[in-house]
């Protein structure tokens, strides 16, 4: 076995540029410890991302928390580990195989599994000994064990203990004593490491200039806040991983943000439904009644919501549906991420349907789309689906601060008593007065004699009357199609990041953004110049086709098996099919830059 000092000297010092994975047992309370490490580095000005790879289980199965530290701001997942913090004996050997040569393992020294690699640096942590020295109450021991690795890792990498202390105080704002006892454990472990471990490895954390315009949170929290600032008034929802925390965040934040200041009464209602059939039914009812309505779910829930979404499309009911995607088909991988619901949602419903889709790629954008979605839904009088995913929704991300909405709430073409009185034109619920395919609507409670109409999912004419007339059917369906077509140029445009002289296009959507940005730079470094277009909404706008047209070849990279985005692009731009190549891939894990780089290089070097 090589001496550890020799291994550490093999490679140059790595400052603020590595991936560390903490391996624990689900339910052991490691989330606080991991978040503390993540936030401490973030506070030190270092770009970081944290990804929790967890099982569909409450207690006992292995779980991993990977922290990417990148001075260059690359936040995508990487498939290897520079540093492993090992608290779980059952995955000890397997996890070690992910370690890079010259990498590091911190391990709880009561784990009696041999270290089978001689090219890594191993630091034992006397977890049990330190816990007993600290005299931790028995019921808190398992939990406090996690603070041992926070202390040891901080000491060995150079994470500022003062910052760790502050982060703990921030996390336990209501319970300072808890924060202090946690920190005492961190300090004890750090002191032990200082006195007993010799730094052998090449990984270091050093402070960088503050990340001033950034915050750290998850996409589900951001989506809920977006809804609150978008004036949501009703949410019917049903628990499902990975969407539950979105509606739960509404419950957390709405009572403090959305009470009438004069009366202290709520301007919103949240109802946990009995299932997704009911949560969408409630959302359709509320949207129809003229209140800003939403629901949140994941793939299996979307399947159940299909019939009401078909009705909402045809009866032209505004609502917002968050689909925080997990891996299907079927129950699939409920705790893993993917982008497999695009085809399902874009055409959600039986018959000719076509839904409006928004696809955020950052936590910040979850907030922005969270409020904008209501404006779009009411403007176009149709459901708007926001496609997030588990990676974006549940993981902690550093993201730009939320920006206050830059325009007042847009309620669309809604007529109250006075509006109807002064309308001056003929009114029918489905009558296209303005020629843009969007009719005017009245809602229940409007007492104007002309206001009431009967809404139905059956065939209806421009006045809402039942009709089986072939001509009427064609007319109404064509108008709805025109309405959705008219949305193309009003929805969020794609974002394009250009590289000078590029003839190759990369096309993606959603949470794979960090992998694309990194891959674009890496490809450039090996002489492959690519422009990158991130699609933010469907149906596509003009710019999407222009981008495809402008490049010799476009690689469409997405987290699903069949290349669903590529399929829809192919439908819209069938004359450009030869310019599009699908590089779809799905294994349940977030996209890596290396996957994109390797897949593109392989094709380009053929």
């Amino acid at each position: 076995m090589k001496k550890e000092s020799e291994i550490g000297q093999m490679q140059a010092k790595a400052v603020n540029d590595f991936c560390m994975t903490v391996c624990t047992v689900n339910g052991s309370g490691s989330a606080t410890a991991n978040t503390t490490l993540l936030r401490a580095m973030f506070h030190m000005g270092i770009p970081v991302s944290g990804k929790n790879i967890f099982p569909s289980n409450i207690k006992g199965l292995p779980t991993w928390f990977s922290i990417r530290v990148s001075k260059d701001g690359y936040l995508a997942r990487v498939a290897h580990d520079d540093i492993i913090v090992q608290m779980n004996s059952t995955t000890f050997t397997e996890d070690l195989d992910y370690n890079v040569p010259g990498g590091v393992i911190f391990y709880a020294d009561h784990i009696a599994v041999p270290i089978h690699r001689d090219d890594v640096i191993a630091y034992p942590m006397p977890v049990k000994q330190l816990i007993s020295e600290a005299d931790v109450p028995r019921n808190l021991r398992d939990y406090m064990e996690n603070m041992v690795y926070v202390g040891v890792v901080s000491q060995m990498l150079g994470i500022d203990l003062g910052v760790v202390h502050q982060v703990l105080l921030n996390q336990f704002t209501q319970k300072t004593s808890v924060a202090e006892s946690n920190f005492a454990m961190v300090k004890l472990a750090a002191d032990w490491a200082r006195d007993n471990l010799e730094k052998q490895d090449r990984y270091f954390i050093e402070s960088m200039p503050p990340l001033e315009d950034y915050i750290m949170t998850d996409g589900n929290t951001a989506g809920a806040l977006g809804a609150i600032y978008g004036g949501f008034q009703f949410c019917g929802w049903y628990p499902i991983t990975p969407a539950s925390s979105l509606a739960e965040s509404l419950n957390t934040f709405a009572p403090q943000l959305r009470q009438d200041p004069k009366t202290g009464r709520n301007t919103f209602a949240i109802v946990q439904a009995e299932d997704e059939l009911a949560s969408i039914g409630m959302a359709v009812g509320a949207g129809w009644a003229g209140i800003r309505s939403m629901t949140s779910t994941s793939g299996p829930g979307v399947s159940l919501m299909t019939e009401y979404m078909s009705l909402a499309y045809y009866a032209e009911v505004p609502l917002v549906l968050w689909d925080v995607q997990r891996v299907g088909p079927s129950t699939g991988l409920p705790t893993r991420t993917g982008q497999g619901d695009l085809n399902l949602t874009y055409f959600l419903g039986h018959g000719d349907t076509n839904q409006i889709i928004l696809i955020p790629s950052t936590v910040n954008e979850c907030f922005t789309f969270g409020w904008q979605a209501f404006d779009y839904a009411e403007e176009f009088q149709t459901p708007v689906i926001i496609l997030s995913d588990l990676d974006l929704g549940m993981n902690q991300w550093m993201t730009r601060k939320f920006e206050y909405p830059n325009q007042p709430i847009q309620r669309g073409k809604i007529l109250w008593e006075e509006d109807l009185e002064n309308f001056g034109k003929e009114w029918g619920r489905y009558l296209d007065v303005d020629g843009d395919g969007i009719p005017y609507r009245t809602v229940m409670g409007n007492t104007h004699p002309k206001a009431p109409y009967f809404t139905r999912g059956t065939g209806h004419d421009e006045y809402g009357n039942y009709s089986e007339e072939p001509d009427v059917w064609v007319r109404v369906m064509d108008r709805i199609k025109a309405k959705i077509e008219n949305a193309r140029e009003k929805l969020p445009k794609p974002e394009i990041r250009e590289v000078e002289g590029a003839r190759i296009g990369l096309i993606g959507m959603g949470s794979t953004e960090p992998a694309f940005l990194e891959a674009q730079d890496k490809l450039k470094a090996v002489g492959i110049r690519c422009d990158y277009m991130r699609i933010r909404a469907l149906p596509f706008s003009q710019e999407v086709g222009d981008f495809i047209h402008a490049h010799n070849v476009n690689y469409v990279v997405e987290l699903n098996r069949d290349g669903q985005l590529n399929q829809i692009l192919t439908i819209d731009y069938c004359h450009l099919t030869e310019k599009m190549v699908s590089l779809a891939f799905m294994d349940g894990l977030p996209m890596t830059a290396d996957y994109i780089v390797n897949a593109v290089v392989e094709r380009e070097r053929k």
Binding site: Y214, I228, Y229, R265, A278, G281, A286, V443, M444, F454
Partner: protein, 344 residues
């Protein structure tokens, strides 16, 4: 009783103002009788049609909301999923009287879950089940309320036990449970009025014969069986808030009164035996007795006027949510800045 010569009600509307389009259901269908009683109840209660909102699911019964109250908003939703639709919509304006019409196919099969959960939440609304034991719109298949042994043309014999909607409501902790018979329009009307005044989900299961597919004289959902076997628990009369009750006008006998949440009173005149509709044990017992002894128990089976409704838990503004100004729906820029600060 009031003279029937008055052509307008207290808010100056005529019965015509409460009418709907011409029914396309079969002549003689029990559902049409019920539609007429909805019209009459709303007219006599002086409810402005624009303050009523109608919902339904899918089936013959669910078609009927277009046959009454044309001046009210309405929404014909999905099979068995009227409860969720109505619940979401009700939040738009809680002052609206919510009337849902369903059938046995709609409620007792796909809709049984939503039915039970609506009841559990006690959303203030009237939930009418037009119950005929058969699927009419798809031409004569068994529904889940069809009795065991029922024989239908093309279907053979029903081998399964029926679902009893009233019992489901009762064990589901409904706060208002009634059964009636389309052949007893006066009772239907008075129950509807009481239901419209109740602050919670009011379930009225109305045996409403299907003249096309299930009206053979010996079957439980037929006119003839109903007429011969109906056993009302009481003679029910609804008295609105404003009027002092003079029992004399209800004739001689023994009476029970139930005061509803809005101050209106249901006067129950004793018929054969004492019955207290606030006693759930008695309610369950009378239903079992009816089943055992082959008679149709009708009337107000159970009521708890004080059971909290869904709204009681939500601390909502008095102003209808759908009239809250947009500016009042968006928190301040300062509040967002505070959130940003907390997430650093």
């Amino acid at each position: 009783m009031a003279e029937k010569t008055v052509s307008t009600n207290q808010i100056g509307l005529t019965r015509t103002d409460y009418r709907g389009e011409v029914s396309t259901l079969c002549p003689g269908c029990g559902h049409n009788t019920i539609s007429v009683q909805i019209i009459t109840a709303c007219f006599e209660m002086n409810i402005p049609p624009e303050k009523i909102v109608k919902f339904s699911g899918i089936g013959c019964s669910s078609k009927s909301p277009t046959y009454f109250l044309s001046k009210s908003f309405g929404f014909n939703g999905l099979h068995g999923r009227m409860p969720s639709l109505a619940l979401g919509a009700a939040f738009g304006d809680r002052q609206m009287k919510v009337v849902g019409v369903s059938g046995d196919g709609d409620t007792a099969s796909i809709g049984i879950g939503q039915f039970k959960h609506l009841i559990r939440r006690n959303l203030p609304m009237v939930y009418i089940v037009e119950n005929n034991g058969v699927y009419g719109l798809t031409k004569g298949q068994f529904s889940a309320t069809a009795e065991m042994g029922l024989e239908l043309k093309h279907q053979g014999m029903n081998p399964f036990m029926p679902i009893d909607i009233v019992k489901e409501a009762l064990v589901g902790n409904a706060s208002f449970v009634a059964r009636s018979f389309a052949g007893d329009p006066k009772q239907v009307r008075e129950l509807l009025k009481a239901a419209l005044s109740h602050n919670g989900t009011s379930v009225i299961d109305i045996i409403s014969p299907c003249v096309s597919f299930n009206d053979r004289e010996d079957t439980l959902h037929s006119y003839q069986w109903g007429r011969q076997h109906e056993a009302p628990l009481h003679d029910i009369s609804y008295v609105p808030t404003r009027r002092a009750i003079i029992l004399d006008e209800f004739g001689e006998g023994s009476f029970k009164e139930v005061t509803l949440h809005d101050g209106s009173v249901v006067v129950l005149k004793k018929l054969e035996k004492e019955y207290d509709p606030t006693d759930k044990f008695q309610a369950l017992k009378i239903l079992e007795e009816g089943e055992r002894d082959h008679y149709l128990v009708t009337g107000l089976i159970y009521v708890n006027p004080d059971q909290p409704s869904l709204y009681d838990f939500l601390n909502l503004t008095d102003e209808p949510l759908n009239r809250v100004k947009s500016d009042d729906l968006r928190p301040s820029p300062e509040s967002l800045e505070a959130i940003n600060q907390a997430m650093v």
